[in-house]
């Protein structure tokens, strides 16, 4: 199989943009930055892969036209919050298959003008009919986690404190200021026990990468090394029966095992994780599901600084979804940008020392009766 590399990456700052900054413009900004970073000319791009959720039909083709990449094979990829990483996976598969050598992958979302009050499953979903919203699912998880593992509300809130502390050094983050534990605990309740600072914000944004085979790197005139995409796992949730363990995160376990085996790595060698912390508790249970933190210890690890930059296993040096922001279709590619910058030593004051092996994890959507809809696991090495 052909090895796959990240030739260059780019993103626009996540945040709230007014109506004049369209999805197409956000995506074009990220794409231009990635092309410049890779030193790639538009004429060298062979295909465009676009991940988005709320962009509407053929958003990818609208974006391609905006950039001047009309005429190429363009495909649209929707796996809710794992859409960007799913688009990357399709590009990776095509390069591995030998179909292309230089492709552009974009994750993009314009949310602030079309999503109000949070996101929910499809209205036809049985849970949605009962009033299930994403925050509620994580609140149910958090309450159970505290009871089952003796974790405290404060320990869970520390995920937000940590990730906001990290993102003050990320120029692409929606929020670039610290928040205190008191602010998180006293924030307006969204779904008890989770308050608004336990939730990732509704953001606009886009992130992109030029993805290449070794021959593609050569074609772009890149002589030195570039981070390699070692594996990308993708799984969907399975139906749960009986009185299952709500925080088992079997879906995360399977997605992790798939990617670690494919990449031929020992998960203990992972130096940093860009984790889908759409809610504070989610970072904790997903790290445990992956097997990177022992079951029931994630809250304690967070509160004691073991997942901070400088700790045993830094999680979300970028600030994560909680603080970098969460334009849903863009998030997976923003994680890839951060992994690239960390693995090439370009992360500035949020740099993780000796970063050689990184993992990006996204979880997208819910389906009633299952433990989730989609999980992607992207393994990138220096």
């Amino acid at each position: 199989m052909t090895a796959t590399y990240l030739a260059g990456v780019g993103m626009v700052r996540f945040g709230k943009y007014d109506a004049s900054v369209t999805l197409e413009k956000l995506a074009a900004g990220a794409a231009a930055a990635a092309l410049t970073d890779a030193g790639a000319a538009k004429s060298q791009i062979e295909a465009v892969y676009v991940g988005h959720v709320f962009g509407g039909p053929v958003a990818g083709q609208r974006i391609a036209v905006e950039i001047g990449l009309d005429g190429l094979p363009v495909s649209n990829h929707e796996n809710y919050c794992a859409s960007g990483a799913t688009a990357l996976r399709e590009a990776w598969l095509a390069i591995r298959a030998g179909l292309y050598d230089v492709v552009l992958v974009i994750g993009a979302e314009k949310m602030t003008d079309r999503v109000k009050g949070g996101v929910a499953p499809d209205p036809s979903d049985l849970d949605a009919m009962q009033g299930f919203v994403m925050t509620a699912g994580h609140a149910l998880s958090a309450r159970r986690y505290m009871v089952d593992h003796g974790a405290t509300r404060e320990q869970i809130a520390m995920v937000a404190v940590k990730n906001h502390r990290h993102s003050q050094h990320n120029p692409y983050a929606h929020y670039q200021r610290e928040v205190s534990l008191g602010e998180v605990l006293n924030a307006r309740l969204v779904a008890d026990p989770l308050g608004v600072l336990d939730c990732s914000p509704i953001s606009d944004g886009a992130a992109a990468a030029v993805v290449c085979s070794a021959r593609g790197l050569e074609r772009l005139g890149i002589a030195d090394s570039r981070p390699q995409v070692r594996a990308i796992g993708l799984v969907s949730g399975t139906l749960r029966t009986g009185l299952y363990d709500l925080n088992e995160e079997d879906i995360s376990k399977r997605a992790g095992e798939q990617a670690f085996a494919m990449a031929g790595i020992d998960p203990g060698d992972i130096d940093l994780v860009e984790m889908h912390d759409c809610f504070t508790i989610a970072e904790i249970v997903r790290m445990e599901g992956l097997g990177l933190i022992p079951r029931g210890e994630g809250a304690l690890w967070t509160a004691s600084g073991r997942t901070s930059i400088g700790g045993d296993l830094p999680v979300n040096p970028s600030g994560g979804l909680l603080s970098r922001g969460h334009p849903v279709g863009a998030t997976g590619m923003a994680q890839v940008c951060e992994l690239y910058w960390q693995l090439t030593g370009q992360a500035g004051r949020r740099q993780v020392d000796e970063a050689r092996l990184g993992l990006g994890y996204c979880k997208g959507g819910t389906v009633s009766g299952t433990d989730g809809a989609s999980v992607t696991t992207v393994v990138v090495s220096r």
Binding site: A120, G131, F132, S141, R143, V190, A191
Partner: protein
């Protein structure tokens, strides 16, 4: 009394096959190969994966709260606050539903029982869904 119903004659369930009106019960299915009970009913068993192994089964209307949250903000104009809970029924089936109970008085393990109620209307026809309410007779936590 463990369950109540207040249903107009010409009503239909939220989804076909989801529940019965009299007596008020959620309708699950049980696998005749491995004995697993599920809700909602399916054509196959999610546990042993045998196709066509399912028999329809009215579920116990009683259970206890496994976890809960008070939702204060929801998209789509749904009125808030409301209590959403996972309820563990006595037949070892977990159901997500709203709880009709004061938000500050809900607790894990609280005994609850099923109530059918109108949740919407379609051209004058009541659409019937389900909630749970506190019921000391439903027994405590497992």
């Amino acid at each position: 009394m463990t369950a109540t119903v207040d249903v107009a004659p010409a009503a239909r369930p939220l989804r076909e096959g989801l529940l019965q009106f009299d007596p008020p019960r959620l309708l699950g299915s049980r696998c005749h190969v491995c004995g697993t009970t599920i809700f909602p009913a399916r054509e196959f068993c999610p546990k042993c994966r045998v196709e066509g192994s399912q028999s329809s089964l009215p579920l116990s209307p009683q259970g206890s709260v496994f976890s809960y949250t008070v939702v204060h903000q929801a998209p789509g104009g749904r009125p808030t606050p409301y209590v959403l809970a996972y309820v563990d029924l006595k037949d070892d089936v977990r159901v997500l539903a709203q709880l009709e109970h004061p938000a500050d008085a809900v607790s894990i393990g609280m005994p609850v029982s099923l109530r059918l109620k109108q949740v919407a209307e379609d051209g004058g026809m009541p659409i019937i869904g389900y909630v749970f309410a506190a019921d000391p007779d439903a027994g405590g936590a497992e």
